[in-house]
């Protein structure tokens, strides 16, 4: 076959200018644009029976689970005294303006992340157990975790929105070589699991998230583009299904599992086509599509948060996860004033200088969270409350003390009032309870029925 000069297409053609334009329009610190026209859920929400992912007022209720890597220096993370008049710790000080809208949760553990008989691999476990609450199978290829809480919720409320869930990550680069201590990399890079053997890959490119939510192209063209895309999808479905069935007959064992994944994907596409018919055209934010991954870390994290905020604001989904960085992340964060690798630092052996640097990193992550929460707080929902009020945003890490790889008393912040169901404005110490109980509580607030026996939960955490 001859090899002519290849044409450059797709992502490559887009140049950097879009990003700056986008940032100028949306901005790292600028609040989300209000779009009054973007309220396709209004009529719909009222029709939703019971309290399935709805607040008492009928507004949508959302849950998001955000993960930051390598734990936090406990002394700088925890406020001094539990209660309502607690004092913000140095690390969490950026969140102080939001005190009435969040709670700091202490005394929650992930015992399944402890080594037990499995030995090394606390980062794989910290990450993989975070939303699943189960023991991970220690294997490089034979992956087995558990269904994650966001997917538990999505199964029950996913039909209410265009996307049953959204998985985001601001950790786009993978290094080569093996992952943590004999664990498959999948554990360390995925928060969401739709089944014990199926991690749900996260989207790390803001442009692709945006195009997925609202369609490709500029403002005004998106709905048509999305419609065309779905027509194109529909037109080849019959053919590829026949191909897949034929192929399935020729395969066996593990090969069939691969084909099953293909068929699951096909079903998802069919569902999204059906949903598109049901929900009509998606919202069309009056802004440029982000062009790609910004090189600046603050901008990158904030753009991904913006995508999440947009998804909630437009009621494109009610459940989301975001991996700010995978556990064991050794990224250097010059943006936080720390050039050293985060993970290497986290084994500080009580070296003061290193601890100081880690505090800066922990503080930096809290700052990023604060900006996101503030944005949600400043955006009004259909019922006049803020989006934050009608949300439950859990922020935390799968390691408590990164130096010693502990998984008890995990650093956790739960923001939002859950539409009035939660009692924020407190620092709570729960003693020593499974974090799975907290996850079960969030799922239960979302209206999920099927939470009994989730992970290693022993019940539903009451005092939240």
């Amino acid at each position: 076959m001859s090899m002519p000069e290849p044409k450059q297409i797709a992502g490559q053609r887009r140049t950097a200018f879009n990003r700056r334009q986008f940032l100028r329009g949306l901005g790292v610190c600028i609040a989300l644009p209000m779009f009054e026209s973007l309220q396709p859920w209004k009529a719909f929400a009222a029709a939703t029976p019971g309290r399935l992912a709805n607040s008492a007022t009928g507004a949508p209720l959302r849950a998001a689970f955000l993960f930051f890597p390598n734990g936090a220096i406990p002394a700088a993370w925890w406020p001094k005294e539990p209660g309502t008049d607690f004092e913000f710790s140095p690390t969490l000080s950026p969140l102080a303006p939001l005190r009435d809208h969040l709670q700091v949760l202490g005394g929650l553990d992930h015992k399944q992340a402890n080594p037990g008989a499995d030995g090394a691999g606390d980062h794989a476990r910290g990450n993989g157990v975070f939303l699943t609450g189960v023991r991970l199978k220690k294997s490089a290829t034979d992956v087995h975790a558990g269904i994650s809480i966001d997917q538990v919720i999505a199964r029950e409320v996913g039909h209410l929105t265009r996307f049953s869930s959204l998985e985001l990550s601001s950790d786009a680069v993978r290094t080569s070589g093996a992952c943590d201590s004999g664990y498959a990399c999948a554990y360390q890079y995925n928060l969401s699991w739709s089944s014990p053997t199926t991690p749900v890959a996260a989207e790390s490119n803001p442009r692709l998230v945006f195009e997925r939510l609202f369609g490709a192209g500029g403002p005004g063209e998106r709905a048509a583009n999305m419609k065309r895309r779905q027509q194109e999808q529909r037109s080849v479905l019959d053919f590829v299904l026949a191909d897949a069935r034929g192929m399935n007959q020729r395969l066996n064992g593990r090969d069939r599992e691969k084909l099953d994944q293909y068929l699951t994907g096909i079903r998802d596409i069919e569902t999204s086509i059906t949903k598109a018919e049901r929900f009509g055209a998606p919202a069309d934010p009056k802004m440029e599509t982000p062009s790609g991954i910004p090189s600046d870390r603050v901008q990158y994290v904030q753009i991904m948060f913006d995508m999440l905020a947009l998804a909630f604001q437009t009621d494109s989904t009610r459940v989301a996860t975001m991996l700010l960085g995978h556990d064991g992340d050794d990224r250097s964060l010059p943006e936080a004033g720390v050039p050293d690798g985060h993970h290497s630092l986290s084994h500080h052996f009580n070296n003061e200088a290193k601890i100081e640097k880690l505090k800066k990193i922990d503080h930096w992550y809290a700052e990023q969270l604060a900006k996101f929460l503030q944005k949600l707080q400043d955006t009004r929902d259909v019922d006049g409350q803020s989006i934050l009020y009608n949300s439950m945003i859990l922020y935390g890490s799968g390691n408590a003390d990164g130096n010693r790889h502990t998984h008890s008393n995990l650093p956790l912040v739960l923001a939002g009032s859950g539409g009035g169901a939660l009692r924020p404005g407190r620092y709570l110490q729960h003693g020593s309870k499974p974090m799975s109980n907290l996850l079960a509580r969030v799922a239960s607030e979302m209206g999920a029925q099927n939470i009994h026996g989730f992970g290693d939960s022993t019940g539903v955490l009451e005092d939240v």
Binding site: M1, G177, V240, P339
Partner: protein
């Protein structure tokens, strides 16, 4: 006398087969046992008589008689069967024995060479049941194309580049590689992207109409420039663009020859760029004019536009002959402050026309997809669609396609092109989109040789079936090109001649430029040099640690801190204030300057290429693989030579070239290349532990166990050294006082510390934080060395076999797309033996892998034709169980 192995379970066996002498003679006579001779009874009996006494003598102190260090006890098997079926344990025993790690080297009583051989042979024959004539090929899970393979396959199939790196999520990797079938999952989100990609690709690649107006793209650079333009045309301009500055008047001209009279369209494409200069905004303006044959088509003013793209279209009625196109820039704000950051980059001017239909031409690449004129009649069209789509689907699926599939594709095409307003081409495009979305494209489906069509080669003594010729073609092409087979491979597979022509084909494929993908993807992952593109290293921090001790500076720093604290606490006198400012100036002057070197994009690329070129050179020139460990040459360009400080070698220009190193130069071999040194460093400093681990894992094949879950704190020990900052070497020495840490750190640290003369940027240094560097050491295997030069010699002289085995294993994993299992020991050993004989010949390695059982054969059921498939899956998998 030690307590004997738990014998009660096997008294009968021992009586029945108890002739130790016979066993021993058998071993000595042929050096190995055939599978039939070492059935379960034989294997167990041999164990009790020959192997167990050796284990008792050398291993039971820690792994028997109640001891079970590392959870290993050789006298706790529940039965003979359990003993023989514990493949995992015996694989560990084999590896540790071969590496000399067990029994621990410091022990006095260790098995001699002959005894070791006996144990090895027993493990391979009795436990693993390795039959050299019938090596178990294992089975690989059907592989999805990874990002790289998808991109290359699309390039070769469709003739377009699709940027999978930014469009698709990263692939999960395992065993160090991203082409492992088991781990290449297909999440729903990715399938959605495959659908979208297929559309984008077909839209870009496949013409949807038979004829279009002719189009000539005149690259910006082809505009003839005035002197002013040339001045700014150098830096950072994208290839082919014309860069015009806002600050200088300039004009550039191109003459276009129109062939016919008619209506033409001119398309002007440019961007208005701004280079970011910290906190400075450039408010200059300029005017751009675009003139055709003296007629002004565009006159517009530009200010800061933030990189925005502009595109203008103009209609022209042209006579045949020459037409003059001029681009002219005029600065408008001569008095404004110039930050010199603003430019217009003219990518191209496109001349489209004549627009009159009689002059239209087939679109670019039309013949690639549509080899002849489209028939007018319905039946003719259907026949033509059949031809095109059958050929296309065969290429895309990389194997013959049944008529049913082709018929369905034709139906799909027909449904589209029968719609009003739709072209035949659009219909074909629609069917091609379906093909690119099919699992038969996205996965590499394989088949086996069926007996009826068996070529002479297929008939062999092995009980495992050969994969069919199309599968072999794909295995070859994805191994060596990370892409689909080309015409020649397809042709040979179609004629059933590929097996016969393997040696020539391997040669041809390696000579092809596409084999660069093999170099890049294999080396990039084996030696992790892929990571050099993204790794973050703080050059300033790294360089600041390299200086020798500077007491004067220490003194100043001390005084500075005293005064600063005083200023904060009580305030300082004017004299002290002055002194403080002076000190601050002297001490922190260096922070204002950019560091001496930095890991720029171009340096990163050169560093990556240095390693890739080394690999390519060794393989293409068939030199010894041992040159990876030590050589008297490397690959440099001017930039990299300067980076390394090797300025006396007279290396000029951007191109990487083979450079002979000066006598006694510490470089040469991959472990002293910047790429490897950097990817094994931390962002601000070296990590001897990471470097040592890297060598053990990737060159010697004896990776240390992962660190224990609860790392014991070192601070108590560290406190003992209070008074001075511990050097890295001292800190690590503390580490090794802990028995728990020592077992691995004794192996990692000496290797890593030997590389301490290279900082985290891969640059040579003599001091670390004021202390002279001590690179001496001793390996666990006993050899002493004074520095990295000697260490490399030791590795070549004493550890070549470990290196051969490691490289063979890594390349086999990459080639097969699966991790290695115990039964692969036979395959690897055969290749390593040949490498030993050939003194490490790369061609022996490559042909060894390609001719190996797992590369050519499969354990799986023959799928081939659904209709003919009668054997149930379980039955075919049976030989694998084997026990």
């Amino acid at each position: 006398m030690r307590r004997r192995f738990e014998q009660r379970a096997f008294p009968k066996l021992l009586i029945a087969l108890g002739h130790p002498v016979l066993w021993a003679i058998g071993l000595l006579a042929c050096g190995c046992l055939t599978v039939s001779g070492a059935g379960m009874d034989g294997g167990a009996s041999q164990f009790h008589h020959q192997i167990q006494p050796m284990l008792e003598e050398y291993c039971f102190d820690c792994h028997g008689d109640g001891e079970q260090k590392g959870n290993v006890a050789f006298d706790q098997f529940k039965s003979d069967q359990a003993l023989l079926e514990n493949h995992e344990l015996w694989l560990r025993v084999l590896k540790n024995l071969r590496a000399g790690l067990m029994p621990p080297p410091q022990r006095k009583s260790r098995p001699d060479a002959e005894q070791k051989e006996q144990i090895e042979a027993w493990i391979k024959n009795a436990v693993f049941k390795i039959d050299p004539q019938n090596l178990d090929p294992g089975r690989v899970t059907v592989r999805r194309l990874n990002r790289v393979e998808y991109r290359n396959t699309i390039r070769d199939l469709m003739g377009v580049e699709f940027d999978t790196q930014s469009e698709f999520p990263p692939d999960d990797a395992g065993f160090g590689f991203d082409d492992i079938g088991d781990l290449l999952t297909l999440p729903p989100m990715l399938l959605e992207k495959y659908f979208a990609a297929a559309n984008t690709i077909v839209t870009e690649a496949v013409p949807s109409v038979p004829a279009v107006p002719a189009e000539v793209v005149i690259e910006g650079r082809r505009f003839k420039e005035s002197a002013e333009v040339q001045k700014v045309n150098r830096n950072g301009a994208p290839a082919g663009a014309l860069v015009l500055s806002y600050y200088d008047a300039a004009s550039a001209t191109n003459l276009f020859e129109a062939s016919h009279a008619g209506r033409y369209q001119l398309l002007l494409d440019f961007t208005a760029n701004e280079r970011y200069v910290e906190n400075q905004f450039d408010q200059n303006k300029c005017r751009l004019r675009f003139i055709s044959d003296g007629k002004e088509l565009l006159r517009r003013d530009y200010t800061r536009e933030g990189g925005k793209a502009f595109r203008y279209e103009f209609d022209q009625d042209w006579r045949p002959g020459e037409h003059e196109l001029v681009l002219e820039v005029q600065p408008l704000t001569p008095d404004e402050k110039q930050v010199r950051s603003l430019t217009l980059r003219v990518r191209s001017v496109t001349v489209r026309g004549p627009m009159e239909k009689q002059y239209w031409v087939p679109p670019r690449e039309y013949a690639r997809f549509f080899p002849r004129t489209t028939p007018e009649d319905q039946a003719g069209r259907r026949q033509y669609a059949h031809e095109i789509l059958e050929r296309f689907a065969e290429r895309a699926y990389r194997r013959p396609v049944d008529q049913q599939t082709v018929d369905r594709l034709v139906g799909l095409a027909e449904a589209t092109y029968s719609e009003p307003g739709k072209t035949f081409e659009a219909g074909i495009g629609q069917a091609m989109t379906a093909v690119l979305t099919s699992p038969r494209f996205l996965f590499r489906e394989e088949g086996t040789e069926s007996k009826e069509t068996g070529s002479p080669v297929a008939v062999s003594s092995s009980r495992y079936q050969l994969v069919d010729e199309y599968s072999l073609a794909s295995r070859l092409s994805y191994f060596l090109w990370s892409s689909m087979p080309d015409e020649e491979l397809f042709r040979l597979a179609g004629r059933h001649e590929l097996h016969q022509h393997l040696p020539e084909q391997i040669k041809r494929m390696l000579a092809d430029a596409k084999s660069e993908a093999f170099v890049r993807n294999f080396v990039g992952q084996w030696l992790q040099v892929r990571d050099i593109d993204t790794i973050q290293i703080d050059a300033r921090q790294v360089l600041s640690k390299d200086g020798s001790a500077d007491p004067e500076r220490e003194q100043r720093l001390k005084r500075y801190r005293t005064l600063r604290d005083k200023e904060d606490a009580t305030g300082v006198s004017p004299e002290e204030k002055k002194e403080l400012d002076e000190l601050r100036n002297i001490l922190f002057r260096s922070f204002k300057r950019p560091p001496r070197v930095e890991l720029t994009g171009k340096i990163r690329k050169a560093l990556r290429l240095e390693t890739e070129k080394t690999f390519e050179y060794i393989v293409r020139e068939n030199r010894s693989l041992l040159e990876f460990l030590d050589s008297d040459y490397t690959f440099l360009n001017e930039r990299l030579a300067a980076y390394y400080g090797m300025t006396n070698l007279n290396v000029k220009g951007e191109a990487m070239r083979l450079v002979k190193l000066p006598e006694d130069d510490p470089r040469g071999g991959v472990i002293t290349q910047g790429s490897v040194l950097i990817v094994t460093s931390n962002p601000t400093r070296t990590s001897p532990v990471k470097r040592g681990k890297f060598i053990l894992e990737n060159l010697l094949g004896t990776p240390p166990a992962p660190p224990p879950a609860n790392i014991p704190p070192l601070e108590d020990a560290a406190k003992a050294a209070k008074g001075h900052t511990l050097t890295l070497r001292e800190t690590l020495a503390l580490h090794r006082d802990h028995a728990l840490c020592a077992s691995c750190h004794n192996r990692m640290d000496p290797l890593g510390l030997a590389l301490e003369n290279f900082n985290a940027l891969g640059l040579w240094r003599t001091h670390d934080q004021g202390q002279p560097i001590d690179a001496t050491g001793q390996l666990l295997s006993g050899e002493r060395f004074t520095d990295i030069r000697q260490l490399k010699k030791v590795l070549v002289q004493n550890h070549a076999v470990e290196f051969y085995r490691t490289l063979t294993e890594k390349m086999l994993i990459y080639a097969l797309g699966r991790g290695l299992e115990y039964y692969d020991v036979g395959t690897v050993d055969q290749i390593v033996d040949r490498l030993k004989e050939s003194n490490g010949s790369p061609s022996v390695l490559l042909s060894g892998i390609i001719n190996s059982a797992p590369f050519q054969r499969t354990r799986a059921t023959p799928p081939v034709d659904t209709a003919k498939q009668t054997e149930p899956a379980a039955q075919a998998a049976a030989p694998a169980g084997g026990l």
